[in-house]
């Protein structure tokens, strides 16, 4: 017989819809409307997992997100695995597959559990810190096994097949929580016409009213819920989000909501549907109606399956028609928990006894229980439970709360279920995400949200308002306030009538005393998820951890996915008693987003796979692909790296490409270089201030190389800028620096020199740039252009306008290879046609496309720097031996001038850029390798510099490098040594950084 614990009737479930599911390989049945936890309890599954540290058997403890034990792995296939799902929050669906995350060989017979029994005393808090500290390098090894033994969930090893979404939302009022207070608040705000979003983490709206004994206007409370939900659904200005947890309260009323759209339907989202959605909501006003969590009492063996939170018992009985046991003992310190005994009795089950820590409780619910003949033991509490895999009894004894003593030997009661209630904790998590310190209220024995600058209202349980009638009124008033503060006119309304009854105050009892000291008594758990005991907290305080934050970190109280939902206040109370201070003096820890775990899928939304990050392609990309290019990523750009022919590796390809450029002509796609159009009457003056060199005399039609420094005098970008007209320049920047340089120009123009009339436009993507380089480039270009390319008519460092391939172009005669070169700039959408014409004409010149690798080699042979490779933000132009590019007599103190004249920047022994020629021409100096002057010095050696660029394959025929060496410019001809990791040493000669054509005669080719 399945579902042994299913009650014959009752519950918000559909008994006609039977759903099969599996847990730890065994098949069970439940009903539509069940949570996984309810279905497991209905089937009498006691052990749901093993505990984190001691590996003790654990069962379902709660009915909501505060569940500490039933944290399961869900997923029918490898690709659909989800870790850390609380069974209490997972709706049951047909075919659901769940497994425990720990327990070996199974949760019922667990090896670690045996160790845990023996080892319990050997594993106090700080055990891992104390035991696995040494040797430090072993921690990684230990950690792997500790994690496995601890039984945390695992992530899937295959790609998630489902689709996730992010959605930006704006609203006037966001209501968090759809219990009585939240629904009342939403109603008030919605009726005023405000745009309202109401979100609740549960499967349906109603909160505590879904399993309440209360009536509203004489009808069951759930009927009022249905009426309100129907009204809200009918309003166009209201968005209802069930199965949606508001997980983070961020700055300026920005909240994130994790909505699970199809998690209740199946292992995978139905085709075409989004599985989960992260709402990013900016709300004018927020109403927090997050309610409370019941606190358990802390007594001996309170973790054995069959110990439950009192309210959870009522939820399972009334909402799911499930009895998580037969014989109930209730231990309480408050009136409200008595409803649990009444619900249990109504279900036809046996209430063995109620232990009330108060001496003379006379509240209305107490009297009702008494009238129904329930045995009530006053001034008493459950001291300890009995049982290993399931509760078989509970000892109830008289206690003295003030002196923390047991005053009678007590009595063992036969039972299989111990429900405990230690009062209620307002759920202040969201209210304190931004730092508002919760405030202790002695009258309700709980922390409520403190003052905070956020535009929010707290209503109902979270506000310490517990009675149903008061909560409804508080919620409605909060909704009215939020709506009117958001600029709407609220309308009057009458809230339904709830029964008001006499309720007596809760007694401040957290840890139940035991005859034995806390360390010797049966384990009294405070935080079930992290296996933190009362003894552990006492030990932490004895060892000197007095601040609540330290106690938390030493014991792991409230860590991880739990975020202190059940154990926080009990733990504080125990620490406070141990340190002999009050709870408010002890204070509380703070809470961080997220309130409950969020899947990475929901966080990422659509930003995964090929749209994780934008990719930029040049207008000529298809041509590169067709010609077999290998690509490299430069920022977001895909740039051809090299163009291998059949059988070639990168070295062979680069050698061939280098040779083709030096011998005939090569073609490079330089479109990715940043291009900034600069216009305005003060453009020239602006360039004078931003570049290190002078721009006053650059005529129209000419171009010039420039260096840019930061105020500290260190080089940060370079490029060629051409004068188009007296008030119009085109600046080029490095590929990676384009955006940075534009912002650099803008900040100076807008904040320092707003009087200069100058305007900047990024035109990087508007133009494609084709570089023809090599001795035959003039002949080749001449075949496709009407521009006069004659040596005298079109000299070096000038530019001309004309047609190339029939398309208007700007051609710059500049060179990054040392060869005769032309950079052809064409409107990007015409570039492919021009390229095809050039390629066709280039056949007879063996026109060879080359990529970034060959470009790097050829420029290095000429000693040209690449900013970011040969510089690292600590090099002045003089360090780079580029003092020729510094206009020392310019009238305005340009950016970098003052900085590079600081005492430290003019030292002669600074690291300076030089050429490095390995003595063995076949040895290659690794880039980044450190350099020393004395290879025989013992470690630590005196390092004098490092290699910045190094190339084995090139057109020179020997390996060469560039690097920085202290005082290197005065060390020409000297030797440096580079000790390698394998023990070898590479010896190199310091030489000029210009390896090829030092006189620049290659430009003069006919």
């Amino acid at each position: 017989m399945s579902q042994t614990n299913r009650l014959p009737n009752g519950g918000r479930i559909d008994r006609s819809k039977v759903l099969n599911f599996s847990f730890n390989g065994q098949t069970y049945q439940g009903f539509e409307g069940d949570t996984l936890a309810a279905a497991l309890l209905a089937n009498g599954v006691d052990i749901i997992g093993r505990s984190f540290k001691y590996s003790r058997p654990r069962g379902i403890f709660a009915a909501g997100c505060e569940e500490p034990n039933a944290v399961l792995q869900i997923g029918a296939t490898e690709a659909t695995q989800i870790p850390n799902v609380r069974a209490t929050q997972q709706a049951l669906y047909a075919g659901l597959v769940a497994t425990s995350t720990n327990g070996w060989p199974s949760v019922n017979t667990d090896m670690m559990g045996i160790l845990g029994k023996v080892g319990g005393k050997l594993m106090p808090p700080g055990f891992y810190y104390k035991t696995f500290m040494y040797p430090q390098s072993f921690w990684m090894t230990y950690e792997k096994y500790i994690r496995k033994a601890a039984g945390l969930g695992r992530s899937p090893t295959e790609n998630d097949p489902d689709t996730y979404d992010n959605m930006n939302q704006h609203c006037d009022v966001l209501v968090v929580g759809a219990g009585p207070a939240g629904l009342a608040a939403a109603l008030a705000a919605a009726r005023s016409g405000a745009r309202v979003i109401i979100a609740d983490e549960q499967e349906e709206f109603g909160g505590s009213l879904l399993d309440s004994r209360e009536s509203l206007d004489g009808k069951p409370a759930a009927e009022w819920v249905a009426t309100v939900v129907a009204e809200l659904k009918g309003l166009a200005n209201v968005t209802l989000l069930p199965r949606a947890t508001v997980n983070g309260y961020h700055d300026h009323n920005f909240l994130t909501i994790h909505e699970r759209l199809t998690d209740h339907l199946g292992d995978r989202a139905p085709i075409g549907q989004v599985r989960q959605r992260l709402h990013r909501v900016r709300a004018k006003r927020v109403v927090l109606a997050t309610g409370t969590h019941e606190r358990p009492l802390v007594y001996g063996n309170n973790d054995v399956p069959g110990n439950m939170l009192a309210g959870a018992v009522s939820t399972y009985v009334r909402r799911y028609g499930v009895a998580p046991g037969k014989k109930l003992v209730l231990s309480t310190n408050n009136d409200y928990a008595y409803r649990v005994a009444l619900d249990w009795l109504d279900a036809g089950l046996q209430v063995v006894a109620v232990a009330d820590a108060r001496h003379n409780p006379r509240g209305a619910l107490v009297e009702e229980a008494r009238a129904k003949g329930i045995r009530i033991l006053t001034g008493s509490a459950v001291i300890e439970a009995r049982g290993s895999k399931r509760v078989s009894g509970a000892r109830v004894a008289a206690i003295e709360v003030k002196s923390h003593k047991v005053t009678s030997p007590g009595e063992w009661l036969d039972c299989d279920l111990v429900a405990s209630s230690g009062g209620y904790s307002p759920i202040v998590h969201l209210a304190s995400h931004l730092g508002g310190k919760p405030v202790w209220r002695e009258d309700i024995l709980g922390f409520v949200p403190g003052e905070a600058p956020q535009k929010r209202v707290c209503v109902g349980g979270v506000n310490g308002v517990y009675a149903l009638a008061d909560s409804l009124a508080d919620g409605f008033e909060g909704g009215v306030r939020a709506a009117s503060e958001a600029g709407f006119q609220p309308v009057e309304a009458v809230m339904p009538k709830a029964l008001s009854r006499v309720e007596e105050p809760t007694l401040a009892l957290f840890q139940v005393p035991h005859e034995k000291s806390t360390t010797r008594a049966p384990k009294q758990f405070v935080d079930l998820q992290n296996d933190v005991t009362a003894a552990g907290i006492e030990l932490a305080t004895r060892e000197g951890f007095e601040s609540v934050e330290h106690v938390k970190r030493y014991t792991a109280l409230g860590f991880g996915t739990d975020q202190g939902k059940l154990g926080n206040v009990n733990g504080l109370a125990i620490a406070a008693r141990s340190l002999n201070v009050s709870i408010p003096e002890m204070g509380t820890t703070m809470f961080r987003p997220n309130y409950t775990p969020v899947t990475f899928g929901a966080v990422a939304g659509r930003h995964c796979g090929h749209i994780f990050e934008p990719v930029r392609f040049t207008a000529l990309h298809a041509w590169h692909v067709k010609n077999g290019a290998e690509f490299e990523d430069v920022g977001q750009w895909k740039r051809p790296w090299y163009f291998p022919k059949a059988g070639e590796d990168i070295h062979a390809a680069v050698r061939r490409e280098c040779k083709a450029v030096r011998d005939s002509v090569g073609l490079l796609d330089a479109s990715t270089l940043g291009k900034i159009d600069i216009q305005g009457p003060d453009a020239r003056e602006f360039l004078n201030r931003i570049y290190t060199n002078a721009w006053t005399k650059l005529d129209v039609g000419k171009a010039r190389y420039g260096l840019m420094c930061k105020e500290d005098g260190m080089v940060f970008d370079d490029g060629v800028t051409a004068c188009v007209a007296d008030n119009h320049f085109i600046m080029t920047t490095t590929t990676g620096g384009a955006a940075r340089v534009l912002q650099w120009l803008e900040i100076y123009q807008q904040t320092e020199w707003p009087d200069l009339k100058v305007y900047f436009t990024s035109v990087t993507d508007h133009y494609a740039t084709l570089t023809l380089s090599g001795p035959n480039s003039r002949k080749l270009l001449g075949e496709v252009t009407d521009i006069d390319l004659d040596r005298e008519a079109f000299p070096f460092m000038t530019w001309k306008e004309g047609l190339v391939g029939g398309v208007p172009a700007r051609v710059f005669r500049i060179s990054f290879t040392g060869e005769l070169s032309y950079e052809v700039n064409i409107q990007a959408d015409y570039a492919m046609g021009v390229l095809e014409k050039i390629a066709e004409a280039g056949k007879k010149y063996n026109l060879t496309p080359y990529g970034t690798e060959t470009m790097h080699v050829l420029r290095a042979e000429k000693g040209f720097i690449i900013v970011g490779q040969d510089t690292d933000g600590s090099m002045t132009p003089d360090d780079l031996n580029m003092g020729w590019c510094v206009g020392r007599t310019k009238p305005f103190s340009w950016i970098g001038q003052r900085g590079m004249n600081r005492e430290d920047c003019v030292r002669e022994d600074r690291k300076q850029l030089v050429g490095l020629k390995p003595v063995d021409p076949n040895k290659w100096l690794p880039e980044g390798a450190q350099l020393v002057l004395d290879a025989k010095q013992s470690i630590p050696m005196t390092m004098v510099g490092h290699v910045t660029s190094s190339y084995a394959a090139n057109s020179l025929g020997y390996s060469f490098a560039m690097g920085v060496v202290k005082g290197g410019l005065k060390r020409m001809g000297e030797r440096v040594f580079s000790p390698q990791a394998d023990g070898s040493v590479i010896e190199a000669e310091i030489v000029s950084s210009v390896f090829f054509d030092p006189k620049g005669e290659r430009q003069n080719v006919e």
Binding site: D251, R280, Q454, R898, G899
Partner: protein
């Protein structure tokens, strides 16, 4: 995520459209050559780290690309005002009481 009023666009927009560019009101010395190394170092590197009101330079990078200043409370992250470059802040040097409800 902060909600920032761009004084150029005249709209409240989300932080992801903006970049913070450090402390505001750090003028470049008019005669850098007259600065000692220490003074130049102060200008380049030394910034305040106040608990309370902080005047900051922001750019509406994914919007109008204009710079502006903001007065932000570093404890609450409240932005009390945004104002144009070259103008003075209204809120200076006093920590306002933390309060519920409206902000300026």
């Amino acid at each position: 995520m902060l909600h920032i009023f761009c004084p150029h666009c005249g709209e409240l927009r989300s932080e992801e459209e903006f970049h913070a560019s450090g402390q505001a009101h750090i003028p470049r010395p008019l005669d850098p050559a007259a600065c000692t190394d220490a003074e130049w170092g102060d200008y380049m590197f030394f910034r305040d780290n106040p608990r309370g009101l902080h005047h900051e330079l922001w750019i509406h990078a994914a919007g109008c690309r204009q710079y502006f200043n903001a007065t932000r409370d570093t404890m609450t992250y409240e932005i009390l005002e945004t104002y144009l470059i070259g103008t003075k802040p209204q809120f200076v040097n006093q920590v306002p009481a933390i309060r519920k409800g409206d902000q300026a």
